[in-house]
């Protein structure tokens, strides 16, 4: 699925200082029933965001107008649990382009990279600095520079480098997906398939 290219993102951020945010919280299973990829943002964090009568829960951060932006900042071990790409879709569809945490679950990280959400893993200390900056001023902005692989807190100028696989970086920068790549080497794949033992 094609997505928008990613170069530099400058935005305020939404804090979610909770550890082990799992994919069942990001999007509960009962919202996985769609046969098309539309409307998942409405159900992002559904059970933390809405009461059972669909009224918003006041104390949840997405219902708090003070916080907004294209960056979601989560606690350690973000995205654990199921392989549902719907979790990444919901985040993208809601309007986030970047998730920051001190640790990501593997499949979730992969899914994000495949659909155009940049997972930025920072040190626990830097994560605390980000949360502190938002707490001090909810309008604090952050700059995520993919080319430089750097995230900065604009108000303090503190910054930290982050890792990304060069191939994935290239994809993100150009808005390509893996299928484009694989379709180009289809001949090689077919040759390979002839010799497999199984």
């Amino acid at each position: 699925m094609a997505y928008d290219k990613f170069d530099t993102l400058n935005s305020t951020a939404v804090p979610l200082p909770i550890e082990n945010v799992d994919t069942d919280q990001i999007i509960p299973a009962r919202f996985l029933k769609a046969t098309e990829r539309v409307g998942f943002g409405d159900n992002l964090f559904r059970d933390w965001r809405y009461n059972s009568d669909d009224s918003p829960k006041e104390d949840f951060v997405l219902n708090n107008a003070t916080y907004s932006g294209k960056i979601l900042v989560g606690g350690k071990n973000f995205g654990s649990g199921s392989s549902r790409e719907h979790a990444a879709w919901a985040i993208y569809d809601y309007g986030f382009r970047c998730v920051v945490s001190s640790f990501f679950a593997d499949i979730f990280r992969n899914n994000c990279l495949n659909i155009g959400v940049l997972p930025v893993q920072v040190s626990p200390e830097f994560l605390q600095q980000i949360f502190a900056a938002i707490e001090a001023d909810p309008n604090s902005t952050f700059t995520v520079d993919l080319a430089q692989q750097k995230i900065s807190i604009d108000s303090t100028s503190a910054s930290e480098a982050f890792d990304i696989n060069p191939y994935k970086k290239d994809n993100m920068t150009n808005g390509f997906d893996d299928i484009d790549y694989l379709l180009n080497i289809k001949k090689e794949i077919k040759n390979f398939a002839q010799d497999t033992p199984l």
Binding site: N20, D24, E85, L183, I189
Partner: protein, 466 residues
């Protein structure tokens, strides 16, 4: 060079190494279900391409299916639409399709091994994280996202950086009442839910050697709950015996050729791992979880740890206990429960139902408990009947439902109500996993059986008929 089991299988499947990028990995078998595939098929349609190897692709309906009255039309219109989409897509692309009511229908990770789709040394993927189950046969098996489902449908390949390697060795004897589920929950409680992130795990040692294939599947199934991409166990005689003559396993000369490859599938002596753990099997007790992730588990005789004994995240820990309605330092024994669920790709196989039945035999289901007994497949369901287990279960006041994922993820009507407690043999105790506001205690089939007949959390060892 000395290689691990994982290296041997992985290296055999690399079509191309992208410079500074992931490997292009060839996928032998791809399992598809109704929830994570519709958008992938839509992608194929948009690109105007067909499934490259339909004979390597298998579709079954499980996540969204009702577990009663499967012969009637599916009530929920959205579920019905997903099931229709799967059937339509499978037919259009010429893929084996085992829909509702089909004799081979069941949970992907239960039917895969039953029909020999799962074989040693294969690469197996599915859009479900518990694909790790198939690692029990010495396959590299892992869950993928929908974009990746689309990749495999269209090219039979996936782009993956090679994960790191971890080995978990457990020697020693398991105590009475300690099942493969307890071994897995024990490991996760030691490593935490992120302890194996970035790694592929090999399980080694007597405990796994002595385990049945079903038990090995339970252990590999839960690998993902400590963050691992997957888990695997070297194939042995037990493995070969299990798969021989199943519908999709190689036959004749193809079997011999495959055997040549399979015989090599073990970790060379002196091969190295990025991380190694060793545990003593004798130290493992029947396990139960008390919190909202599978790492929050403990031996049944222990008490709920205090927040200061938990590494980091005391606030998250407190929130989790609040959700469960528990306090630090409490024992789990005697806690009230409302539901019991036996089933899922973790513990929905015949051996699990045998174990459950063994405990409830001659006892009665407690009145305060609603029990859902959901076989993992029609084949399991049939075995339950053929072996006479159903008669025993019915005499004890239990009913059997029809196969599916059911309360494992509660996409169908099998939902645990707000605030209620369920002792569940499934794999996740996340908030709301079994229905909004539900509270899940993960445990083995015999712990579930003990809860079902006593109406509360009970040490199953007290009920084992010696």
């Amino acid at each position: 060079m000395k290689k691990t089991l994982f290296d041997k299988v992985w290296d055999k499947h690399v079509v191309q190494q992208i410079d500074q990028g992931p490997d292009v990995l060839f996928i032998d078998r791809h399992m598809v279900h109704e929830v994570t595939s519709p958008v992938a098929f839509l992608g194929l349609k948009n690109r105007n391409i067909k499934v490259i190897y339909p004979e390597r692709t298998f579709a079954t309906a499980d996540h969204n299916t009702p577990t009663i009255n499967q012969h009637l039309p599916v009530q929920d219109p959205l579920s019905a639409k997903q099931l229709d989409a799967l059937e339509k897509n499978a037919t259009e692309h010429g893929i084996s399709y085992w829909g509702l009511g089909h004799e081979k229908n069941g949970i992907v990770h239960v039917v895969g091994p039953e029909y020999g789709i799962t074989v040693p040394g294969a690469t197996i993927v599915c859009g479900d994280s518990h694909t790790s189950t198939h690692g029990a046969f010495g396959a590299i098996a892992f869950g993928i996202g929908t974009s990746e489902v689309e990749m495999v449908l269209s090219t039979q390949c996936i782009l993956q950086p090679k994960p790191k390697k971890m080995r978990i060795t457990i020697n020693g004897e398991l105590d009475k009442g300690v099942t493969p589920k307890d071994v897995a929950l024990f490991i996760i409680s030691q490593l935490t839910t992120s302890g194996a992130t970035g790694h592929f795990v090999e399980y080694a040692g007597d405990v796994f050697k002595n385990m049945s294939m079903e038990g090995r599947m339970t252990v590999c199934n839960l690998s993902i709950e400590m963050g691992a991409r997957g888990g695997m166990i070297a194939p042995d005689e037990k493995t070969f015996h299990y798969i021989k003559d199943r519908e999709f396993t190689p036959k004749g000369a193809a079997w011999d050729k495959a055997m040549d490859y399979w015989q090599e599938l073990y970790t060379d002596e002196d091969a190295t791992f990025d991380k190694e753990f060793f545990f003593d099997g004798a130290e493992i007790e029947p396990m139960i979880t008390f919190g909202t992730n599978p790492g929050m588990g403990m031996g049944i005789s222990k008490s709920i740890p205090t927040a200061d004994a938990i590494e980091g995240g005391a606030a998250t820990y407190k929130k989790s206990l609040d959700y469960m309605g528990y306090n630090e330092g409490e024992s789990m024994i005697g806690k009230d429960i409302d539901f019991v669920f036996i089933g899922s790709c973790t513990n929905g196989r015949i051996e699990d139902f045998r174990a459950f039945t063994e405990i409830v035999k001659g006892r009665k289901k407690a009145d305060n408990v609603t029990a859902w007994l959901v076989p993992g497949s029609h084949k399991v369901e049939k075995a339950i009947k053929d072996e006479g287990l159903l008669d025993i279960l019915q005499a004890s006041g239990f009913e059997l439902r029809e196969p599916g994922c059911s309360a494992c993820l509660a996409m169908n009507d099998d939902k645990v109500p707000q605030g209620k407690y369920a002792v569940s043999t499934s794999n996740r105790n996340f908030e709301g996993r079994q229905g909004p506001g539900s509270r899940t205690l993960l445990a083995s089939p015999i712990m579930a059986a003990a809860a079902a007949v006593t109406g509360k959390v009970t040490d199953p060892r007290t009920l084992i008929n010696s």
